[in-house]
Symmetry: C2
Subunit: 333 residues, 2 copies
DNA sequence: TTGAAAGCGCTACCAA
DNA sequence: TTGGTAGCGCTTTCAA
């Protein structure tokens, strides 16, 4: 491995001078610069970022903690984080915790030891101890989570209440009066609570007394698929189901299809999220689209501003959602 | 920030001793150890991995270069890499190049400067200059790619010829005699060439003279969707289509559905890959499943062995595929 | 414009 | 079993 010393020796100058030319930090006479550059070229010298980090106390490293990359929307967010991060010359250390709190804590410790300059936490829920740990390490952090547990934390989020209200209103406008909501877990996250509130508020405003909540017991395809058994017996009394995420909705649609029911003829189904899979199902899924790529992008932009000490940024960010009208809703007359 | 010096001072010992207790590298008397540990506990001291790396010359960092994380199978591989990597205490620096050669080269340079100990390259195709660059930096590397350009490189791969041969044979057994193949690009990768050879070989062995190749012009959903316009006019003369990947197959199925055709009644369609989406389509897709998670896992295990100097490993690995029979094929009588 | 030297936080060697 | 110290590769004063 060739070091700055070798370059200095080979070009007959001091290491200070070499440092100056590679960093363009101070004036160096043209001839010397040219010569040093030549030696660098010939030797293939590359500065060692580890040594550099040690003295500059900058790692340009940002940790991203997610639960599971195989959720397409997570991959989409990471894509946003990474792409924008790279534009600012920050590198991304990826950490998947698979919903395990201890793994998250270990990652936090790792990122701390690695001198990460900031952390983005993307997840369904974070235990208070996670937030404490982040604070203990005194790291800049941005959260995107269904549960903000500490208002002192900085975050990016979506107005789930408004989105859910709008979706429910749409269903009502289409003539639906028996609209059920399919939630994920028994224990409600803050975000989920808001979505349900939006759903109920829309119903209430139109004086619709029917409301019903099914619990899938999870957020993945299979949970939605399995939850269909709860729905099927009730199909005569409900006309639409609002699923709290697209994957659940797709699972449900497929199970219904497998049992010979037709969507939206027999029942209308809408999702939430705008996962890329939502356009691959048939019928295509009407849904609320959350801008995952942008969420990732905004997270890292905000984080970098925090790192760079820019005070002019808003650290509690609410991003707009969009309503995606497709073919899984039947108009009732 | 508290350093080893602080801990040494506070516990009244030398930094050598502190180093010994944190690394368990040499005997330390019980009382001193206890005391040092107490000080560490109180101060919240964490060793600085950057400084550590500088002296030990180990970064425990592995770079993973992919094209696009939003391909579900890529995310799946990265998951395997990351999970296994963490078991061996290696960290993953994720780099997405979006099919751009220059970006790949930049990442290689970055990983070199960061002192990454090895690199996993996952991609459709790598330019020779990429392989040269990897070699120039003298980094351990493992490739998973559709084009192995240099047999000196280590890789993990799947026997595409056999897989394709098996799938085509299955179609023939189901009574199909007019089987078309849908390829991705005009310019064939090595892997693609093998797949097509397998398809043709199976046909030939059964003395089926009909063969036809469509080119989608890409590998994503939309390419498959768009390619349907080439297929539809020929629907009377072909009975099955073997798509070179699942995403293409799903796009095709959906377009057919949108135009009122039925799969498999009007035409049988099979895919390749076993992407998780292949079970979400209706009809569910018959396909060849490549073990993406395992591919990632094997890549990193092999890489770590290389890094650790273990000579007992095979560095040209062929992993088994599996045949997944689902509902997108009609039996012809 | 240049060089010498201190020092970033740590490990590992050598002596005691 | 302990401490002193050199040195990892680099940036950054300070003097010249």
């Amino acid at each position: 491995m060739v070091t700055i010393k070798d370059v200095a020796r080979l070009s007959g100058v001091s290491i200070s001078t070499v440092s100056r030319v590679i960093n363009d930090s101070k004036p160096v006479s043209p001839e010397i610069r040219k010569n040093v550059l030549k030696v660098i070229e010939e030797t293939g010298y590359r500065p060692n970022d580890v040594a550099r980090s040690l003295v500059t106390k900058r790692s340009y490293l940002i940790g991203v903690i997610v639960n599971d990359l195989s959720n397409s929307y997570v991959a989409e967010m990471v894509k946003g984080v990474e792409e924008i991060g790279k534009m600012y010359n920050f590198d991304i250390l990826l950490c998947s915790s698979y919903y395990d709190k201890d793994a998250q804590i270990n990652y936090l410790s790792l990122l701390n030891r690695k001198q990460a300059e900031g952390i983005i936490l993307i997840g369904y829920h974070f235990d208070p101890v996670i937030i404490e740990t982040v604070n203990k390490y005194n790291k800049h952090a941005i959260y995107f989570t269904r549960d903000i547990l500490d208002e002192k934390a900085d975050y990016v989020r979506i107005d789930g209440y408004a989105a859910s209200y709008e979706m429910t209103g749409y269903l009502i406008k289409k003539g639906h009066k028996k609209i059920a909501f399919m939630t994920d877990f028994d224990e409600k996250s803050v975000y989920e609570t808001k979505k349900i509130a939006g759903y109920k508020q829309a119903l209430e405003e139109k004086e619709i007394s029917f409301s019903k909540i099914y619990t899938a017991g999870g957020r993945r395809y299979q949970h939605g698929y399995d939850a269909a058994v709860q729905i099927i017996p009730d199909l005569n009394e409900i006309s639409a189901i609002f699923c709290t995420n697209d994957e659940l909705a797709i699972g449900l649609i497929n199970h219904l299809y497998d049992k010979g029911f037709k969507v939206p003829e027999d029942v209308s189904i809408v999702g939430y999220g705008g996962y890329k899979e939502s356009q691959f199902v048939r019928p295509t899924l009407t849904t609320i689209s959350e801008p995952y790529y942008d969420i990732g992008a905004v997270c890292i932009r905000t984080l970098i501003k925090k790192i760079e000490g820019d005070k002019s940024f808003n650290s509690k960010i609410e991003l707009p959602f969009s309503f995606v009208k497709r073919n899984s809703v039947k108009e009732l007359v």
